[in-house]
């Protein structure tokens, strides 16, 4: 596939019943780009986690606010931006969850960012308190995931 740039955009009310639509949207684009099923699953889950955080934490389950998802396809690279205008937070205060501690405190949630960082190649969180948050996630299509175009055409 030649180097080309493509942008996809989804603006959707911040409701948990839209998570399935968001996952389908992201998965279809990732499949089109040529990611294997395993990576598509990872991308889908990472975006679900980012959007779940927006719905539950940034917007406190207030569905009147939109979640904005932009997917940028560059050569061998998928960049996903999840943007909200909800409550900001201090990303430097995030710590890797101690699972035993979570269990002891019966805390639910808070595992999403940890998962996102494990599932994607790059994760960057920008938060402006009072203005909103943006999660930028990148997945590269370079690790032998898809057959190179020459090999696919040669037989």
């Amino acid at each position: 596939m030649a180097a080309k740039s493509n942008k996809f955009h989804l603006k959707i009310p911040s409701q948990t019943d839209n998570l399935e639509i968001i996952r389908d949207f992201v998965a279809k684009i990732a499949r089109k780009v040529g990611f294997n099923e395993d990576d598509i699953n990872k991308i889908e889950l990472a975006v679900d986690e980012a959007c779940t955080n927006v719905i539950k934490h940034a917007y406190d389950n207030n569905s009147k606010n939109p979640i904005d998802i932009t997917i940028q396809i560059d050569y061998q690279k998928l960049t996903i931006l999840v943007t909200d205008k909800g409550k900001g937070f201090d990303p430097t205060k995030l710590k890797t969850p101690d699972l035993q501690e979570y269990l002891a405190e019966m805390r639910v949630g808070g595992l999403g960012i940890y998962l996102m960082k494990n599932l994607m190649d790059e994760v960057e969180i920008n938060s402006k308190p009072g203005k909103g948050n943006q999660v930028r996630m990148v997945k590269y299509l370079d690790k032998g995931d898809a057959p190179p175009p020459q090999a696919a055409n040669s037989s």
Binding site: D48, T52, K56, L99, M106, G109, G112, L115
Partner: protein, 116 residues
């Protein structure tokens, strides 16, 4: 994928919850309800069978975290079975295999409960 469903069956004193479909922040309350029903009925030996579950996010895993302490305090346990690799990976990434017993097959989980 089409919604989420919890099917419940009982084998002696063990409750088996079969999960079907996708388990995310939208459907997690359904699982919460099913587990709360077990607790309310003092059923503390529970197996979750994941065979027909196609998707899970941390919201789903959070439900298990929310109940496990109470279940173990009553001498019971939550055991997991029949996870496909996609589902297992999410549990594995979050360190759940250290916190919960995961069996290949529902029968193995049942045997473990019955052997005590």
């Amino acid at each position: 994928m089409d919604g989420f469903e919890v099917q419940r069956k009982i084998s002696n004193d063990v409750v088996i919850l079969n999960l079907k479909g996708y388990l995310d922040a939208h459907t997690a309350p359904q699982l919460e309800k099913a587990l709360q029903t077990c607790i309310d009925q003092k059923e503390y030996k529970i197996i979750i069978n994941f065979e027909n579950l196609s998707y899970i996010s941390s919201a789903g895993l959070g439900v298990f975290m929310g109940f496990i302490e109470e279940i173990r305090q009553h001498g019971g346990d939550l055991k997991f079975s029949n996870m496909n690799p996609k589902i297992f990976r999410v549990f594995d990434l979050l360190g759940f295999p250290n916190l919960f017993e995961i069996f290949d097959d529902e029968r193995d989980a049942l045997n473990k409960f019955n052997s005590k």
